[in-house]
């Protein structure tokens, strides 16, 4: 008889439907703004329409007299809020600066800054009255020209924000100058990533309700604990007096990581009118409320030997930030580790502008940086007349060259080879602009994908009821990836329960502490904690049974038992065992509960941990009209254990669709004269629609990683969007022979 040391996985790895799917499609799922409270009032923001200056005069008399209006609140009459500089800066906040509590002074720092809020009986009354507030400004010339600001940032090391010196993290290994000089072939090009905005379906919303000194916020959030801490800080109240609830999130992509000003304004307005207040951003306000992906200038220099071995990588980037916070990204980091290269240097600068602070948008930094690096690699392959896959294989990093550590696991070669095979890459004509199908030019392009695997401490409580069903609790979030489902799978699998016997509760600050729902680390963190808690619960139940002479499991040992169908039984003899319900009943227990904290160990010191992938893309570009259309995508990822292949595939295709938007469509336009966003709606900020999305093929390499975390998961949320922009851009080049180096690639950049 073989002795298994691990419990056989039956539910982890299954393509299980979303447990919250029915609630979502039937409307039963309650999003932040849908919670119902008695006597609720409605708020509408008034935004600045200048880019920089001072409020000279606010005329709110007409608005105040408008039907249903309860209050018009501005810096003149707003509750004083404390600056949001907590002792420990939350990881979602920029490294420097202060987000500046809203409605506290007369300064205008960007176009679209909230300068007042109107509270009224109905939303319509609030919106109407908001349009009646007249504000006069002393206008100053705003900084709106990114190329000028970026130039200045690169050439003036003393570039300052209001808050201090912009950080310039430098990195160099080897000697890049020499590496470039010694190279047989060099390329050097500049690339532009435009400002983008997340635009989730659900716009941001907060329902604030004070009961005495206690505040409850129903909020759209990826991190309720941080909202609680920052709101408590701003209002100078105890964190225990703030409860934040966020049960469902209608997409976020990073937009709900931070505690944006409207959250504080909702709480401030509710305090002011002494009633619950609902504040929901309009679609237009979504372009200035939460930040966007920062516009970024990049320059990549590559040197290689004749046979395609990299001798140098130099990657510079300048990202836009606000004048009051230094938001920086890991834009250049992937260039240090993606390829084996002896001489690497990276430089990163910030260009402060009169905009609201940019923020993390799906794979912040990596998306932008890998776009530039992977297009540059394509340019190098073209210069060397070498196949782009071959070039990448020749420079494959067998260990992390930046940390000099082995990888915990890596399946990048498998992604290249299987992706190329599935895609039919061998049919690619090496010559650009030489493949035609009717009126279309056909292009094949590929790129690598990479995203770090992180993990943070997380606490999970599991409570099993008398009937043997289990409730898992953690203050995590599910912005759409399927956390409700996948965490339930981990618990059901570990406890040997059916999916309908487990229930995951999340999105509430009264639940045990979970880390931010971002950075692709929810499964690694909360999933690992769930597994730990389930194992601990199993241990406790076994303790009850094995210490009980009446139990068939009397004196059973942990390594001798297994679980299934709500039962615990001997591995060697499944008849010897009993149900959880029976164990609890015999001990007169209504329930049994465990709380486990799980956190990273020493693995990061021993291994370099990343998920890797590769995208293969076919585009058609109309030979005359120059419209680029993505016609086929094959993407493969090594993302560790895949807990739910169905939701994982959804994650991946969602990322690829985001990549089509990034490569061909999306760009936030600000008018240079006043920094105002002029396409703040979904007709003019164009996202892909169904007609833009072809058949997408996704595969996952069966990757077992014993080092990353107990579950062996790497997180697949962000990586799907990394590299896809480059793969599309490379395919457009291959189709047309035209290299567009500023995204999005729209037809006017191809028409010659």
């Amino acid at each position: 008889m073989s002795i298994e040391t691990k419990i056989p996985s039956k539910i982890i790895g299954q393509p299980i439907n979303r447990v919250d799917g029915r609630a979502k499609v039937t409307g039963a799922a309650q999003y932040a703004i849908e919670h119902k409270l008695d006597n609720v009032a409605h708020a509408m923001l008034v935004l600045s329409d200048i880019g920089r200056g001072k409020i000279q005069e606010i005329d709110s008399k007409t608005a105040e007299r408008s039907p249903g209006v309860l209050a018009v609140i501005s810096y003149r009459n707003a509750t004083k809020l404390r600056s949001q500089e907590p002792k420990e800066r939350p990881i979602v906040d920029p490294i420097e600066g202060d987000p500046l509590p809203p409605l506290q002074d007369d300064k205008v720092r960007f176009n679209g800054q909230p300068v007042a809020v109107v509270v009224a009986e109905t939303l319509e009354q609030a919106a109407h009255a908001a349009s009646l507030v007249r504000i006069k400004y002393d206008e100053e010339k705003p900084i709106t020209d990114f190329s000028a600001a970026a130039d200045e940032a690169r050439h003036a090391p003393q570039a300052k924000t209001d808050q201090g010196k912009a950080k310039r993290p430098e990195y160099e290994r080897g000697d890049v100058k020499k590496g470039l000089t010694d190279a047989d072939t060099r390329i050097e090009h500049e690339y532009i990533q435009p400002t983008e905005h997340h635009n989730p379906i659900e716009t941001h919303a907060t329902l604030a309700h004070w009961e005495g000194k206690k505040l409850t916020l129903y909020d759209k959030s990826q991190w309720v604990m941080n909202v609680r801490d920052q709101v408590a800080q701003a209002f100078a109240i105890e964190t225990d007096d703030v409860r934040v609830i966020s049960l469902f999130v209608g997409g976020a992509f990073g937009s709900a990581l931070r505690t944006w000003s409207h959250v504080l304004i909702a709480a401030l307005a509710a305090k002011h009118v002494q009633r619950p207040v609902k504040l929901m951003l309009t679609r237009a306000q979504m372009f200035t409320g939460p930040g966007g992906r920062p516009r970024t200038w990049q320059k990549v220099s590559l040197g290689a030997t004749r046979d395609g071995r990299l001798t140098a990588i130099e990657h510079q980037a300048v990202g836009e930030t606000s004048t009051y916070e230094s938001y920086s990204e890991s834009t250049v980091n992937s260039s240090r580790m993606l390829y084996s290269c002896p001489n690497v240097a990276t430089h990163y600068y910030l260009a402060p502008m009169n905009i609201n602070t940019p923020t993390a948008m799906r794979a912040p930094g990596e998306v932008t940086g890998v776009y530039a690096l992977e297009v540059a690699m394509d340019e190098l392959a073209a210069a060397l007349e070498m196949d782009p896959v071959e070039l990448r294989l020749r420079n494959h990093a067998d260990r992390d060259p930046s940390k000099d550590l082995p990888w915990s696991s890596k399946s990048l070669k498998e992604c290249y080879l299987e992706g190329a095979e599935r895609f039919g890459w061998s049919k690619r004509n090496p010559k650009a602009g030489a493949t035609r199908e009717g009126r279309n030019l056909v292009g094949y392009g590929m790129a690598s994908a990479v995203y770090p695997t992180n993990r943070m401490p997380a606490t999970v409580r599991i409570r099993m009821s008398a009937d043997g069903s289990a409730e898992i609790r953690s203050s995590s979030s599910d912005m759409g990836p399927g956390t409700y489902t996948s965490i339930s799978q981990v618990a059901a699998d570990t406890l040997g329960l059916a999916m309908d016997q487990v229930n995951f509760r999340l999105g509430d600050t009264t639940l045990p502490t979970a880390p931010v729902h971002g950075g692709s680390m929810t499964m690694a963190s909360v999933g690992s904690a769930t597994q730990a808690a389930a194992e601990a619960l199993r241990g406790k139940l076994l303790e009850l049974a094995s210490g009980d002479e009446r139990s068939p499991l009397h004196r059973a040992k942990a390594d001798g038992i297994t679980t299934a169908n709500g039962r615990m039984f001997l591995r060697d003899d499944s008849r010897k065992g009993e149900s959880y319900a029976d164990i609890l009943k015999r001990h007169n227990r209504d329930s049994i509960e465990v709380t486990e904290k799980s956190e990273p160990g020493e693995e990061k010191k021993k291994f370099s941990m990343y998920a890797f992938g590769a995208h293969f893309v076919e585009v058609h570009v109309d030979a005359d009209l120059c419209v680029p259309r993505v016609t086929r995508v094959v993407s493969g990822f090594g993302g560790g254990k895949i807990v739910n292949p169905k939701t994982a595939r959804s994650q991946a295709i969602g990322g690829i669709v985001g990549g089509i938007g990034m490569a061909c469509l999306e760009e936030t336009h600000r008018d240079l004269r006043n920094g105002r966003v002029i396409n703040a709606n979904l007709a003019d900020y164009i996202l892909p629609v169904n007609a833009d999305v072809p058949n997408l093929e996704v595969f996952f390499i069966d990757e077992r990683d014993p080092h990353v975390n107990p579950l062996g998961v790497k997180g697949i949320a962000e990586i799907a969007l990394v590299g896809i922009g480059a793969a599309i851009a490379n395919a457009v080049y291959h189709a047309t022979g035209i290299r567009v180096r500023d995204l999005p690639i729209r037809l006017d950049k191809l028409i010659k």
Binding site: D49, E124, A127, H128, S131, D624, L625, C626, V627, R629, C664, L665, H669, D671, R673, R676, I678, N679, A683, D684, I686, P688, V689, N690, A691, D692, P744, R746, L747, D748, I751
Partner: protein
């Protein structure tokens, strides 16, 4: 949104009577443009007169044409057999616009009155001569990639957004208008007013008048028609350039042609001059290119939209080439 009265009209005389009572009143049918603009404070009517109850929903055959009621929904019109068979350019134009949900609401009359998507018109923070005569035009020095290159003035460069109207221009549609005391018929070529000094005035429609129908003449030429729309996104986006083309080929030469452009002009832009240059020519790419150059010769590009000149020329060539291929395909199949 500014507060307003909402009333329903029972029939055409009632609608005209009701609008006569409020000089800031507006008719509302599908509401797909008007309500949006009211939310943006661009349109601020004091009364909305709902004309959805009016029986203007028929598509009727006339002796020498077709009469389309003003309240016919875009979807119903696009899929109507008579339209698909006799005026394919109109069906294709309608289906290239908006989304099924919007087309189910939008009407023929409303589409004729559709207003520009110029971002500086749609945001009241900006100066706009169309919204506020004499205020200036923010688009001239702004981001104007989507703006017009034909029919512009130094007061306005806003693009007419409609697809349907471009097809109607090529089809020589006639707009039937009912007023308090008179009924009149206005050819679509005269329905829209060139911008000139007063971009606020877009059509000849006067306050108190109601569009009741659009009439299309019958012509064999129109059976050989096609709408080509070029845009960044594959669906649900306004045109960068669109072409409504019709062409009849007899004995290897162009016997008749119609050509109108969308997405590039301040109104649906038909070019009689270009049509004339085509007649008698062989249907070749060079003939199409020559006609295209005629249309675009007066184009005035702005900072961000110069590409539209070349794109429009190529789109014209493509649209007529498509019709030529269709002609040959039909000939081939009838020969068999």
């Amino acid at each position: 949104m500014k507060l307003f009265q909402f009333v329903s009209a029972s029939d055409t005389p009632d609608a005209i009577k009701q609008i006569g009572a409020d000089k800031h009143g507006r008719f509302v049918a599908g509401g797909t443009t008007l309500i949006d603009l009211m939310k943006l404070h661009v349109e601020t009517p004091s009364t909305l007169i709902d004309i959805n109850g009016l029986r203007l929903t028929a598509i009727e055959e006339l002796k020498d044409g077709l009469r389309i009621g003003a309240n016919v929904r875009n979807s119903d019109l696009a899929w109507n057999d008579l339209i698909v068979g006799r005026y394919p350019v109109l069906s294709e134009a309608l289906l290239s616009g908006a989304t099924p949900q919007l087309r189910n609401m939008a009407t023929v009359g409303g589409n004729l009155m559709q207003r520009t998507r110029c971002p500086y018109f749609r945001d009241t923070v900006w100066a706009c001569n169309k919204r506020d005569p004499g205020a200036g035009c923010s688009a001239l020095d702004g981001f104007n990639r989507s703006h017009a290159i034909l029919g512009t003035s130094d007061k306005c460069i806003a693009t007419h957004p409609s697809d349907m109207c471009v097809a109607l221009a090529a089809l020589e549609a006639v707009v039937k208008i009912q007023g308090a005391n008179r009924e009149r018929s206005v050819p679509i070529s005269e329905f829209y007013i060139p911008y000139g000094d007063d971009p606020a005035r877009e059509t000849v429609l006067e306050h108190g008048e109601l569009i009741t129908a659009v009439e299309l003449p019958t012509a064999d030429l129109f059976k050989h028609s096609h709408y080509l729309k070029v845009r960044d996104r594959a669906s649900f986006e306004f045109a960068l350039v669109s072409v409504a083309a019709a062409m009849q080929i007899e004995n290897g030469a162009i016997h008749g042609a119609r050509l109108a452009l969308g997405g590039v002009a301040t109104k649906p832009w038909r070019s009689l001059e270009a049509e004339k240059t085509l007649v008698g020519e062989k249907p070749t790419e060079s003939a199409f290119r020559a006609a295209a150059k005629v249309v675009l010769k007066d184009a005035i590009p702005q900072k961000h939209n110069a590409f539209k000149i070349e794109l429009a020329e190529r789109a014209i060539v493509r649209a007529f080439s498509t019709l030529t291929q269709a002609h040959h395909a039909v000939k081939k199949s009838t020969n068999i």
